[in-house]
C-alpha cells in the first residue's frame, strides 16, 4: 500500500528525520511514536504531499507520489473544519460527484461516526470530540485507501479520546482501513496499532519496531500491553519511573 524509502527531511541542522524507511500493508494500522521533536509529524507531512522538500521516495501502490494524492485522507491534530459550512457540507468538502450522491455519501459517513442528527449544525455548535468525528468523516468520505492521522486525539479529554479510538477501530473493521497514526500516547498506539515504529534521536530515526499480535479489540489493561509499554518506554530512553 505505502512504502517509504530512505525519507530524509532536515530543518535547521538537526530537527527532522533521517533515512526513515518502512512500509504499510493493506489493512494495517501503523503507529509512529516518539518524543516531541523526533520528526513524527514531519514524516506524515511528507506523505500528505503538503511538504515536498524531502529526499527519498514515497510510493503508494508502487507509484511514486508528487504532492497530495487522491488515495490519501488526512485527519489533523485540530479538526480544521470550515466554520462557514454546516457539518454535512464539511463532510462533503472533498467530494466532486453530483449533489445528490455527495449528500448521500456524507450522510452515510456521519451515521458511521454517530453524528447523523448533527448534520445541520455549524462548527461553533460542536464540542471538541464531535468536531473531530466530523473531521474523521470528512477524511473518509472520499474512500481513501490510506488514512493518515496526525496526533488526532491529543487535544481531547481522556474519555472522549477512548470513544474516538474505538470509533477508529470500528471503521477499521467495517471498511478494511489502512492507517498511519502519529501519536505520543503509548497507550493509544498499543490499543490501535499492528506495528509501532519508535522514533528517536535528532534528527529522528526509526529506533525500534514493535509488532503487537493481540487480536482487537484489546483490553486496555492487559498484561501483554503493559509489558510492551515498559519496553517502549525503555527504547525511548524513559525508564525507571517505578523502580
Amino acid at each position: 500500500m505505502l512504502t517509504i524509502n530512505r525519507l530524509t527531511r532536515i530543518f535547521g541542522g538537526e530537527n527532522g528525520v533521517r533515512n526513515v524507511s518502512f512500509s504499510v500493508e493493506k489493512g494495517e494500522i501503523i503507529g509512529l511514536l516518539g518524543k516531541s521533536g523526533s520528526g513524527k509529524s514531519t514524516i506524515l507531512k511528507a506523505i500528505t504531499g503538503l511538504d515536498q522538500g524531502y529526499s527519498g521516495d514515497i510510493l503508494i501502490n508502487g507509484e511514486k507520489i508528487q504532492g497530495p494524492h487522491e488515495e490519501i485522507g488526512v485527519v489533523f491534530q485540530e479538526p480544521r473544519l470550515f466554520p462557514w459550512l454546516t457539518v454535512l457540507e464539511n463532510v462533503q468538502f472533498g467530494l466532486n460527484r453530483n449533489k445528490k450522491e455527495n449528500i448521500a455519501a456524507a450522510r452515510e459517513l456521519l451515521k458511521e461516526v454517530g453524528l447523523e442528527h448533527a448534520e445541520n449544525l455549524y462548527v461553533k455548535q460542536l464540542s471538541g470530540g464531535m468536531a473531530q468525528r466530523v473531521s474523521i468523516a470528512r477524511a473518509l468520505v472520499t474512500n481513501p485507501g490510506l488514512l493518515l492521522l496526525d496526533e488526532p486525539f491529543s487535544a481531547l479529554d481522556a474519555f472522549t479520546k477512548m470513544q474516538l479510538q474505538d470509533l477508529v477501530l470500528k471503521i477499521w473493521k467495517s471498511q478494511q482501513l489502512t492507517a498511519v497514526i502519529v501519536t505520543h500516547d503509548i497507550d493509544e498506539a498499543l490499543y490501535l496499532c499492528d506495528r509501532i515504529l519508535v522514533l528517536s534521536g535528532k534528527p529522528g530515526q526509526v529506533e525500534r519496531e514493535f509488532r503487537i499480535d493481540e487480536p482487537r479489540p484489546r483490553n486496555r489493561g492487559s498484561e501483554t500491553l503493559a509489558r510492551m509499554k515498559a519496553e517502549i518506554l525503555h527504547s525511548l530512553g524513559i525508564e525507571a519511573v517505578y523502580s
Binding site: 500528505t48 504531499g49 503538503l50 504532492g67 497530495p68 487522491e70 490519501i72 488526512v74 489533523f76 485540530e78 480544521r80 470550515f82 466554520p83 462557514w84 459550512l85 468538502f93 472533498g94 454517530g114 453524528l115 442528527h117 448533527a118 449544525l121 455549524y122 462548527v123 461553533k124 455548535q125 460542536l126 464540542s127 470530540g129 464531535m130 472520499t142 477512548m162 470513544q163 474516538l164 474505538d166 470509533l167 477501530l169 470500528k170 482487537r216 479489540p217 483490553n219 486496555r220 489493561g221 492487559s222
Partner: protein, 279 residues
C-alpha cells in the same frame, strides 16, 4: 475497564442541542442602556424649559421636534435627506467597488502587493479631508467633488480590511484544500473568499461610518441641499434648533444604514462564533 476484555465499548453518540441565546437575559441590558439617554433628555428639558439656558443657544427638545415636523410638512426634509443619502450611497458604492477590485488583486498576488501596497499605505496617512481643496479645484463644488471625497473616505477602511482578511486566512484551512488537490481558483472560491468575508464586513461598516462623516464635510464646503446644508443654514441664521435637528437626522439615518448592513452581515455570517449583541 479490564473486565471488558473482549468487547469494544460502543461509542456513545454525544447529545447536542442547538443553543438559543438567552433572550431573558438581554432585556435588562437594553433597559440599562436607556438610563443615560432618558436622564440626558430630562436634564435638557429642565434646563431649557426653565430658561436656565437661553433658547437662542440651546432650544428645548420640544422646539427641535417642532422644527423637524415643520421640515416634514413643507416637504423639504425629504429632499435634504434624499440628496445626502444619494451622495453617501453613490460614494460608498464607488469606494467599495474600487476597494474590492484593488484589495482582491493585492491580496491574491504578492507581486501586486509589493507594487501597490507601499503607495496605498502612504496615501492612507493623508487625512482624507485634506483632499477637499484639490477636489473642489478639479471638479468644482458640484456633485462630483462631493462624491469623490466620500468615495476616498470609504475606500481605505474597506480596502485595508479586505487585504488583511485575505492575508490572514488560516493557513491550516488552506492545507485542507491542498490535501483535496483544489486548484488555485477553487482555493480562492471555497476557502479564501468565505474566510475573509467577516473582515470584509468589518471594513464595510467602518467605511459606511466614514461615508457619513465625509458627507458632512462635503456638504459644509458648499451645497444647496442636504443635511449638511441644513447645518450651514442653522449657523447662518442663528437657529440652533435647525442644527440640532440636522444632527439628530444624521444620527438616525446613519444608524439605520449601519443597522441595515449589520442585518445582512448577521445573515451572511450566521456561522460566526460570536454572539451578536447590541445594534
Amino acid at each position: 475497564m479490564s473486565k471488558k476484555a473482549t468487547e469494544i465499548p460502543q461509542t456513545i453518540p454525544l447529545s447536542f442541542e442547538t443553543k438559543k441565546t438567552g433572550k431573558k437575559k438581554r432585556n435588562p441590558n437594553i433597559l440599562l442602556g436607556f438610563i443615560l439617554p432618558v436622564l440626558l433628555l430630562a436634564v435638557w428639558t429642565a434646563a431649557t424649559e426653565t430658561g436656565f439656558i437661553p433658547s437662542y443657544q440651546l432650544p428645548s427638545p420640544k422646539n427641535v421636534i417642532e422644527r423637524i415636523v415643520r421640515l416634514v410638512q413643507d416637504g423639504s426634509l425629504w429632499s435634504h435627506v434624499g440628496i445626502t443619502f444619494y451622495r453617501v450611497g453613490i460614494g460608498f458604492f464607488i469606494g467599495t467597488l474600487a476597494a474590492v477590485l484593488l484589495g482582491s488583486v493585492v491580496g491574491f498576488y504578492s507581486k501586486a502587493e509589493k507594487i501597490f501596497d507601499p503607495i496605498i499605505q502612504a496615501f492612507k496617512s493623508i487625512p482624507s479631508l485634506a483632499w477637499v481643496p484639490l477636489f473642489i479645484l478639479w471638479m468644482g463644488i458640484g456633485e462630483a467633488s462631493k462624491i469623490s471625497l466620500i468615495a476616498v473616505g470609504v475606500f481605505f477602511p474597506v480596502y485595508l480590511n479586505i487585504v488583511s482578511g485575505i492575508l490572514n486566512v488560516d493557513r491550516k484551512l488552506i492545507e485542507v484544500g491542498k490535501v483535496y488537490r483544489l486548484s488555485h481558483f477553487q482555493l480562492v472560491k471555497r476557502i479564501i473568499f468565505p474566510a475573509s468575508l467577516p473582515s470584509f464586513f468589518t471594513g464595510l461598516r467602518s467605511g459606511l461610518g466614514l461615508g457619513w462623516m465625509f458627507v458632512v464635510a462635503a456638504e459644509l464646503m458648499g451645497a444647496s441641499e442636504g443635511l449638511g446644508y441644513l447645518l450651514v443654514i442653522g449657523q447662518n441664521s442663528s437657529s440652533p434648533d435647525i442644527i440640532i435637528a440636522s444632527i439628530l437626522l444624521f444620527a438616525i439615518v446613519g444608524k439605520l444604514t449601519d443597522w441595515f448592513v449589520k442585518i445582512i452581515e448577521n445573515k451572511v455570517l450566521a456561522w460566526r462564533d460570536t454572539s451578536a449583541i447590541g445594534g
